[in-house]
Symmetry: C2
Subunit: 228 residues, 2 copies
């Protein structure tokens, strides 16, 4: 199937575009997934949108609207089967696939993330780590080799890498992002404090820890004298 086929007619494309799921909805899916995992572990079989809404402190309407973006997972008079919904949301999120990743930057944060992901996250597999410090080349973190930055591009192509994780300072991050784009990477998980100037074909998910901490400090400061 070539690009023209996948595109379909103009009419179809418009319909498809109008159906595109908002990032607000996508942003809530992992949380649903997390609660369903919890319920599943507790051995509970079914749940209504009303019960789930109480648990998650959102409206039942929102839950039903969100889920119905992807199809009717529930059954009138019954509610939702937890196991089934859990699996389906997992599929929607793409958790039924494997992703090959590389870590760029073997500093504190980079090493922590590699360790953490190898413990916790099946499906997201680190294949290589890159750093600019020659004294690290050839060393391993959890069986993953540390290599020179110069080899990123060829490594991506050879090992079919889907996601690059950026845990380096911002100046370096912008430079490396350019190289990543050239090598045809599909997605970047960006921990650098900078917006990467990339074309829209490359998915970027930012984790700006500074920004997060600033939000917290705002909320502390402004709530000092305020009553709810």
């Amino acid at each position: 199937m070539d690009k023209a086929d996948r595109r379909g007619t103009v009419k179809e494309e418009i319909r498809e575009t109008s159906r595109e799921i908002s990032q607000a909805v996508i942003g809530r899916l992992p949380r649903y997934h997390r609660y369903l995992a919890e319920l599943k572990e507790q051995g509970i079989e079914r749940i209504s949108s009303q019960e789930l809404s109480t648990l998650m402190k959102v409206t039942a309407s929102q839950i039903r609207q969100d889920l119905n973006n992807f199809g009717g997972f529930g059954q009138q008079g019954y509610g939702y089967n937890i196991e089934h919904l859990y699996v389906e949301i997992g599929k929607i999120l793409g958790l039924d696939k494997e992703y090959h990743m590389i870590m760029i930057g073997a500093g504190n944060l980079g090493r922590a993330l590699v360790n953490y992901m190898n413990y916790e996250k099946r499906g997201f597999l680190f294949k290589g780590i890159f750093d600019q410090d020659p004294s690290l080349y050839g060393k391993m973190i959890r069986d993953i080799p540390i290599m020179p930055m110069e080899e990123i591009k060829s490594f991506i192509l050879e090992h079919d890498i889907d996601i690059a994780v950026l845990a380096i300072p911002k100046t370096a991050a912008v430079r490396v992002a350019g190289q990543l784009a050239e090598s045809g990477i599909r997605a970047i998980w960006n921990f650098a404090h900078v917006d990467l100037p990339l074309s829209e074909e490359i998915q970027v998910e930012n984790v700006h820890l500074s920004d997060s901490l600033m939000k917290l400090s705002y909320n502390i400061s402004c709530n000092l004298g305020r009553m709810k």
Copy 2:
């Protein structure tokens, strides 16, 4: 000034409430702050909302609306003074104050964050680290002592701690959050994959890395065959 005074009359309270800034706006402030820092470093003195909007890829309207939630920082016919705006947004975000923090959990992530914050973030000061592993007690990470979990409460009270950072597994996180609430902490920066059941007086900022990665994997998956 006691609580009743700070509250003011009912009328004032209503007015104040209606003026409350939405989290959508707050969430954008750190990004403004980041861009202004950049412009300042480049030695640029003034910028119009139009120029800034081009740079940041948002509308000029949004910039003006956002800023005017906090007062008129600009000047007609001139635009905004970068240095001044930078400082003002910093104040709004509470970056002109110092915060005392503790890290809970001395695993990979906890250690990485302590290291990172001591390099990068003036104003956010770690005073103590807590872990459940007795073999770590008394050890130091960048001059900050690791102590037993049992001492959290007394430490918070003695050292006037504002923010606790949770970098521990979710079950432990829920338990510790309860203890933190009792000790009167004001804010929690939560890296555990769980929603903490806390009263609204305690500010919680979640950094759910798993959720972030799932959003990325969704966007990879759903964009496979789609054209923009």
